[in-house]
């Protein structure tokens, strides 16, 4: 409140001064709201409203180019529950998320642990691991599409050089998942490593020093000091990865050379790809696409909450 002091000084204000005082009061009173308003207004219009409208649209029979639409209650959701392609896409999305995220976060922790030593050329090393994150997803999809090409891809060349059978990467669930998870991990491991590194630097060093004097190995120090101490950050990265992984689109889309079906038998079609295909390519079915979007939203919400509760419980258990 001291900030208003300047406006109230001066005995016997003239009319002009009084006007200035009033203006300055308004300024102090309303400026904060004016400064945060653009953010909230634009977010409400282009972020919040569309999400809520998704729920509304999911209750209608609604084609993209038709003018009218018809209320059908939960019909779209009922259709989805018996739609094999929807469950297949859900299976692919969750599967790829698990296959990609667990090794990614473990490797990121390990790299962060290495980067946390006393190193020469620190910035160069950090830039090196972050490099994949600054390249665009579309470029990643194209480059890895060729790395994992069937006939003249580098991976198959390596396999055949080692006298192993080559893999038709787009033909099976497991191989499509492996290739796409590799792309995701390539792009995000270094980023997560830097986030873990930041958290590790905040751990008091005496903890490690006394543990070392007590004869604890580096391995034990890592699991018994580092990991528990950076648990909030692990939660943060898991939730961010969940939000990103559940909405995976571009990598599998470009891995399929720009086709939303994700392999001839939808071997790696994700929910986002199926939403896109349903809404913008095949049936132009806004209602069904919206219902899927909303279900995915709920899945993300539930996963985030489960993560949160799990981590919080284990932190509490530790404290006891």
């Amino acid at each position: 409140m001291t900030v208003t002091a300047g406006a109230e000084t001066g005995p016997g204000p003239s009319r002009r001064q009084r006007r200035a005082t009033r203006l300055s009061r308004w300024d102090i009173r309303f400026s904060p709201y004016a400064y945060i308003a653009p953010f909230f207004l634009l977010f409400a219009a282009f972020g919040l409203f569309p999400i809520l409208y998704t729920l509304y649209a999911s209750l209608f029979r609604w084609r993209l180019l038709d003018t009218g639409h018809q209320y059908v209650g939960l019909r779209n959701y009922r259709l989805l529950f018996v739609d094999d392609r929807f469950w297949n896409a859900m299976y692919n999305t969750v599967g790829m998320f698990v296959v990609a995220t667990i090794p990614q976060l473990l490797v990121a922790m390990w790299i962060a642990n290495l980067l946390n030593r006393r190193l020469r050329a620190r910035t160069a090393l950090r830039m090196g691991v972050l490099l994949p994150n600054i390249t665009s997803v579309a470029a990643v999809g194209i480059v890895f599409g060729l790395l994992f090409a069937d006939r003249y891809g580098l991976i198959n060349w390596l396999l055949s050089s080692a006298h192993l059978p080559i893999v038709e990467w787009r033909l099976h669930h497991w191989s499509g998942w492996a290739a796409i998870s590799t792309m995701v991990d390539w792009r995000w491991t270094g980023y997560n490593a830097l986030i873990y590194l930041a958290a590790m630097q905040a751990i008091p060093r005496d903890l490690f020093e006394s543990a070392a004097l007590d004869g604890a190995s580096r391995w034990r120090q890592f699991w018994q000091i580092t990991v528990p101490m950076i648990r909030p950050t692990i939660l943060f990265t898991v939730i961010i990865s969940t939000i990103g992984g559940m909405q995976l689109f571009t990598e599998p889309f470009l891995f399929a050379y720009g086709q939303s079906r994700g392999g001839a038998g939808n071997e790696f079609q994700t929910i986002s790809m199926y939403i896109y295909q349903t809404t913008f390519e095949r049936n132009f079915d806004v209602g069904l696409g919206s219902a899927m979007s909303w279900l995915l939203f709920l899945v993300i919400l539930i996963l985030a909450m489960v993560n949160f509760l799990l981590v919080r419980r284990s932190v509490k258990g530790e404290a006891r």
């Binding site: 406006a7 400064y35 945060i36 190193l119 972050l130 490099l131 194209i142 896109y276 913008f280 919206s290």
Partner: protein
């Protein structure tokens, strides 16, 4: 509260201070990097850099070298790139120009509104401040991609499909940006400075423009870099709402990849390399700041 935040005049750097003189042998050895550490890190970096380098190698070859293994760089990089740029279907030149416009406008806007709101949240007192700040943090967690269908309907109604404002206007603000600037302003802008400006008769706006904004510049430029790169890399929404006549660079790339992968794949890779170059330049120039921004942002979040 006032006194406490005021004692921290500048944001703390992410890196820890220079290591003290080791007191004990064992403790000092603890942080020593062995050759194995370097080996593992170099291996990680080779894996990180390899696909990027590989894209440039392929982009420099001719199409009939496709079965040539291991891939060796050829001498046709510029030739392939100019072929990609001249490709009428993909409009890559236009796509690059559009992406510069879109990313530039979005970056300026995000930095402006984020510093403004961040300043308000950190340094001005108003009713509902904490609740609104919490709401800002919650917006960061909202998967807005799931609202794309209604957003598309909205763009149809506004008549914006196929034009650049469709990929600019929805991204003019960012909850992450507001939060990042709020955190930085709270520690980097001393309250005394703002009070002094008030006593000198500065309006809130003048205080923001002349006092706060210059102080926020380091963090604001990091936010700008991150925003520019993120906007440049945006794929799904531009792909849905734009058409092949007004692409951004990522949409051009997709058209190029879908149409020419089987016939002229070196051209596809030349286009891919072209799309990465601006980001590589930014990264090489400002890598240190970008890394600082990512690490600092995460600690505070």
């Amino acid at each position: 509260m006032t006194a406490r935040t005021a004692t921290v005049p500048t944001a703390r750097p992410v890196d820890r201070p220079a290591p003290r003189i080791p007191r004990r042998g064992a403790a000092a050895r603890l942080w020593q990097a062995s050759p194995l550490t370097y080996l593992a890190l170099v291996l990680a970096i080779v894996l990180s850099a390899f696909p990027v380098i590989w894209a440039f190698i392929i982009a420099s070859r001719s199409n009939d070298a496709i079965y040539e293994y291991p891939p060796r760089p050829g001498g046709q990089l510029l030739d392939n790139m100019s072929r990609a740029l001249a490709n009428d279907d993909a409009s890559l030149t236009l796509g690059l120009a559009n992406s510069v416009i879109v990313s530039g406008v979005v970056t300026i806007s995000v930095v402006f509104f984020s510093t403004l709101a961040g300043f308000a949240f950190a340094k001005l007192r108003f009713r509902g401040r904490n609740a609104l700040l919490l709401a800002t943090i919650v917006t960061m967690m909202v998967p807005t991609q799931l609202g794309l269908i209604p957003l598309y309907l909205l763009m149809v109604r506004l008549g914006w499909t196929g034009s650049l404002q469709a990929v600019i206007v929805p991204f003019l603000v960012s909850g992450f940006g507001v939060f990042m600037m709020r955190q930085y302003a709270a520690s980097a802008v001393p309250d005394e400075l703002i009070e002094a400006a008030r006593v000198d008769g500065c309006s809130t706006w003048r205080t923001y423009w002349n006092v706060v904004l210059p102080t926020l510049r380091p963090a604001a430029s990091v936010l700008g870099l991150l925003t520019f790169m993120q906007t440049w890399n945006e794929f799904l929404w531009p792909f849905i709402v734009l058409n092949p006549d007004t692409p951004t660079v990522q949409v051009s790339l997709k058209i190029l990849a879908a149409g020419y992968y089987n016939t002229d794949y070196v051209q596809v890779f030349a286009g891919t390399a072209l799309s990465i170059i601006p980001l590589l330049v930014i990264f090489l120039l400002f890598g240190r700041q970008i890394i600082g921004g990512i690490m600092e942002g995460s600690v505070k979040a």
